[in-house]
Amino acid sequence: MLRTLVTRLAGAAVMAVLATLVIFLIANTVPGDPVLAQLGDLAASNPATVAEWRAKWGLDLPLWERYFIFLRGLAHGDLGTSIASQRPVLEDIAQYAPATVELSTIAFLLALVTGIPLGIAAAVWRDSWVDAVARVISLIGVSSPTFWLAFVMLAVFYGGLQIAPGPGRLDPIAFPPDEVTGLFLVDTILAGDWETFHDAVSHLVLPAIVLAAATIGLITRTTRAAMLEAIGQDYVRVSRAKGMREGYTILRHVLPNALIPVVTLGGLAYANLLAGAVMTETVFSWPGLGRYTFRSAAALDFPAIMGITLVVSVTYLLVNLLVDLSYALLDPRVRR
């Protein structure tokens, strides 16, 4: 187990370094000239200004040297300065990350507690109405564009029925809790401020459902397929031949096997959430990384985009590492 851990960690580290190379190459070798993008037409027509600007940002150095400087910066936690906010990118990210972590964690839990039972039920009562409902839910989940779903939910429950609060993490007139973790749910509990806690929860409901929708579809589908696969295995018939109760057979024999592919899905589901967060946060004016990404993309704020990509990729690598390790816990055949 320890060896697996060390090997996987080493592998992830190598991939992370390679990822920085990829990001660096995207940022530095694409045809679009950042100088032109950032100086504006007038300044760019003056060769002296351009040369000065290039020198200032180190763009006149050879590529490998620039990569080296880029890496050295990374080692010191320097992801560059955002053009839009004029602040270090890392600072921006640190400011926006908690809101996203809060939203995506809730959404992920929601997806798990909905998708897995739904998938199990659909497989156990195959071809019944439960299966049909699960199929419809999962198909709509994976087929709806998140940004549109966010809009529809907001329009219906906030604009139309007026039973949900509007965009944002809190009511405009509410005061955010003292920042400890940046997670409002945690911070309000720590502060004992139950009114704000309630407010934060009610603001979370819609975006969490929207963000979870695609993942629910994915998890339901995978759970159902994995359950059906496991139900067809010989050991299930053996369990029935042993006179075990059907519920026991499903829970103790089928489910542990069916969960293995569902866990493998974890990394994919997480990627889904990240993509969804960009859209969801944008529509719900959620002050998180997703909306920051959207703004940076819209403004072609290059350092910010690269910084986000790097941070997100490393997180993604870590998530996949966790998935790998929990996989080893679930399946004795890959355990060593």
Partner: protein, 286 residues
Amino acid sequence: MSASLALPAPRSRRARLWRRYGLAGIGAGIVLGWVLVAVLAPWLAPYPPDFVDVTNRLQPPSGQHWLGTDALGRDCFSRLLFGARISLLAGISVVALGAAFGTLVGMVAAYARGLADAALMRLTDLVLCFPPIILALAIAAALGIGTTNTIIAMLVVWWPKFARLARALALVQRSQEYVEAAVVLGLKPARILGRHIVPNAIGPLVVLVTLDIGNAIITFAGLSFLGLGVVPPTAEWGAMVAEGRELVEQWWVATFPGLAILTIVLGFNFLGDGVRDWLDPKARSR
């Protein structure tokens, strides 16, 4: 028990046909419908898609403008019809090119084995270690706004999954006895690949391709929604939702393009599920 000797009647022919082809049929119908819309858009649309009429802005759906007008007074219905062109074009071209390139890489890796295989697979690992939409977003931002650039960005993140699947399928095929038989018969490698390996490995690829077009359409629309896909004023569904996203009162602006995406993606998903059931002998007998 001994009383119930009578056998239940077998399922009717219609029920069986519905079971086997129903969903796939609906999916194919939806997809075909949208393809027709895309092709015939100039004849079906009552207005040119970028005909601006500011005096008539944000009109609710009416006999004049079936789906209302947007903030610039453009006819939403006409823009919706034209939007089908971009979505289908982007979805199909990303998946087709990505699948073609990925399959080629995967098959070559499986056939060559050794160093080439290892190198190609590490390359796919590298791409797969990024969340796809984030990487596509970064590349699209670097390349600049535009349909072609966005398609290129998506291609970069799209091919590896096909490479992996194709490689796995080819490896399974390699150890099939009929492929060994072909080797013993003295057939040339190209023939073995073309006649024995590819035709038998293609099924799961076809399923993935069909299911994935929906995915690609959503992703492209998402990038457009973020302002990276098409250059305004091109009519594109994701961009149309973005234009209407703050207009809760004028719900029609954003709702209908989203519904369009939903239906076309559902269509491809139905079709893909149907193809999978149809190709999977286990599912077929049921």
